[in-house]
Symmetry: none
Subunit: 411 residues, 2 copies
């Protein structure tokens, strides 16, 4: 039975730039050959004009309406940090910060740079506080540092995301008390737990060796943790049930791995696929082709097109596309016997360096797909194609139908 | 920073007519030149096949789902009459009518023609009754005649639109008593107020000089006011908040001015722009170009294409389009540095003389917009373009994204 290889160029879409987009100028004979045999179109990852984040766009592309399933940044930040969330888990984005003796925030980032040993010490303190919370409140606490002063805090138990932030969002204000935003018992308990953690962290911080070292070198102490953006992990029917599709994702970026995991995909990594602009794709493509024997859909995430766009690096973006295409070349015969789809999760024009709301090009090749006249995968050509203008949420049903997996709606 | 000039030809869309639509045959070199440099598509103002009114279509084009925001004709009729509504205001469409001595309706239109001095006399009576209502019920009353026997009645205060019509909708029936359609206090009060106004109007009508004059010339008296279609003014988040777009509308038609105002646009008029088929656009276009320096989006409403369509006047419709285009010509260099969008709010085919449900042509030019092959703005060409088929509600997000104003959804 055929299966699908899905190449996703993160932030791959671009603006016309006088007739030259990275997709348009990149030498990518394999992608373009398959494009010439298949159908093209434009894809609005969410809906026309909407500027997606990578998380909301991937939810949509995986077949889940982000307006329903995107339940606050905290949850997706935690997924991005590699924490496996269960439905009902509540997650916050956190800052390590500095407060004065009266509890007023004087630095919302504790100097921003946090050394690895400081991260470890903070995680140890949080683990200890977590044990106390588990005993006192029956709530499990998971804390993980991410980048610099940032981290995520996950609460698991009879909790709710309906509590106010403790982050005052500016300096010169005291750390706020979390307050329940609903009348339910869960919100009340969550606020109490959050306030307990907040108070205990500042207490414990006084005795930390790292803060003595910081004081000695004139750096602000890490003596407060600020929470914001509480969100809960929704119950998500796995792709295998919702679309009857057995799917694997190969990705180096934690956030994408997290979203893929959340929708029930098996997640793989590959040598060379670190999620940077210098990734090499030979191992990743080899793995993808192998996995096509076991899965209906194999999704391969290419981060470099987005990173180079954020850097304004046109040639770098072209190079990422060309490198991926070259890695596909040895498998052309195999790809011709299966389905092949290429798209982006959003445009990140090199000239703008940020996500924008234009549609991205889309190509779909397969033994049963109508061939149109488009022979090059790019923003400047795909709009002529037979697929017309689709949305991210349409992709999974289309693939499931070509694979003969979808359930009939009606008789 | 660039901004957008948005030209809207009211009822501009038409049917093919053997290859000749007004847009297709009109000599409009400026619009067509910008079209040749930009993207085209088809636009369903609401959704495919839906025959929009100008009010619902403009709501959608301004970025507001009319199924959510269009809350009864009364409210939009009042906006059209130039009454500034506040959220929660309840508005009815009214007919001046004739009843016999037992209160049975014998003419739902009081002979239809209402002279200007009769309109004034009715408005004076209604103002007096309004004062009584304010004292008795704490509800403010605004009444305004519109065309012939028609008018609008607005109630402001602790009121509700959930009351039944007093208009029996046919002759030979008594004026109906308004009844609350809900259990709330507001509905009960509103019904009481409506019945008070109804009774007092008929009472006061007996003594009116205009009715003596009408009797003398054998015309039916204006001695009843019939209410129908109660609707409330919804709370509408202004475009500046919902889309982060600072927008101005230049329009001569009260209904369009009302809808624009309701969504928080600044509304302008211009010399020559009366909302008729004979409008001249030089001042309006000059103003639009000036306003582009102060606003992100400047919307210019052209009514004449609709009026001529309702009259079945093909050449007149062509002339309106050509006149508008000619007014744009001096500003071509300016337009080339900004965004430019042209569309209609619905088709009003000259052969049908009524709004129909086809999509209308759409062109979008801008420095960052993909150029396609379409070089003429018309129903017969735009379907080939790179925009594909969009909906009215998509326009604002697309513009906001190109202008770099939209908020990112997700990370």
């Amino acid at each position: 039975m055929p299966s699908v290889l899905w190449i996703l160029f993160d932030g791959g879409g671009d603006r016309p730039n006088g007739g030259k987009t990275p997709f348009h100028v990149a030498f990518k004979p394999t992608i373009d050959y398959l494009t010439s045999l298949g159908s093209c179109g434009l894809l609005d990852p969410i809906s026309p004009g909407v500027r997606p984040g990578s998380d909301t766009a991937h939810l949509a592309l995986f077949g889940y309406d982000p307006y329903k399933y995107y339940t606050g940044r905290g949850a997706f930040e935690a997924l991005g940090a590699g924490i496996e969330l269960r439905p009902g888990d509540v997650a916050f984005r956190t800052n390590l910060a500095t407060v004065d003796s009266s509890g007023v925030v004087i630095d919302r980032r504790a100097g921003r740079y946090i050394a690895p040993e400081e991260t470890r010490a903070v995680e140890e303190v949080m683990a200890k506080i977590g044990d106390e919370v588990a005993k006192r409140y029956g709530v499990e606490v998971v804390y993980k540092s991410t980048v610099e002063h940032r981290g995520v805090l996950v609460l698991r138990g009879p909790v709710s995301h309906k509590v106010s932030d403790t982050d005052p969002h500016k300096v010169g204000m005291p750390v706020a008390k979390a307050a329940p935003l609903g009348n339910d018992r869960e919100a009340a308990l969550t606020a109490e737990v959050v306030n307990y953690i907040t108070a205990r962290f500042t207490e414990a911080a006084g005795g930390l060796e790292i803060n003595k070292a910081r004081a000695a070198s004139g750096r602000p102490p890490i003596n407060a943790i600020l929470l914001r953006g509480g969100g809960y992990m929704p119950a998500i029917e796995p792709v295998a049930e919702k679309y009857r599709v057995k799917a694997a994702a190969i990705a180096g970026v934690a956030l994408i791995r997290g979203v893929a995991k959340a929708v029930g995909m098996d997640v793989y990594t590959a040598q060379g696929l670190g999620g940077t602009k210098d990734d090499v794709f030979d191992h990743a493509v080899k793995l993808a082709v192998e996995l096509m024997g076991k899965y209906d859909v194999v999704f391969l995430h290419v981060k470099g097109t987005d990173s180079t766009s954020h850097d304004g690096d046109f040639q770098g973006k072209v190079a990422v596309i060309e490198r991926l295409d070259k890695a596909l070349a040895p498998y052309l015969d195999h790809l011709l016997k299966n389905y092949f789809i290429v798209t982006s999760d959003h445009a990140t024009p090199v000239s703008i360096r940020e996500h924008t709301g234009e549609p991205v090009p889309l190509t779909l090749y397969g033994p049963d797909v109508v061939p149109d006249d488009v022979a090059k995968f790019s923003e400047l050509t795909c709009w002529r194609g037979a697929l017309g203008r689709l949305r991210g949420i349409d992709i999974m049903p289309i693939l499931a139908s070509y694979l003969g997996l979808s359930e009939k709606f009606g008789e």
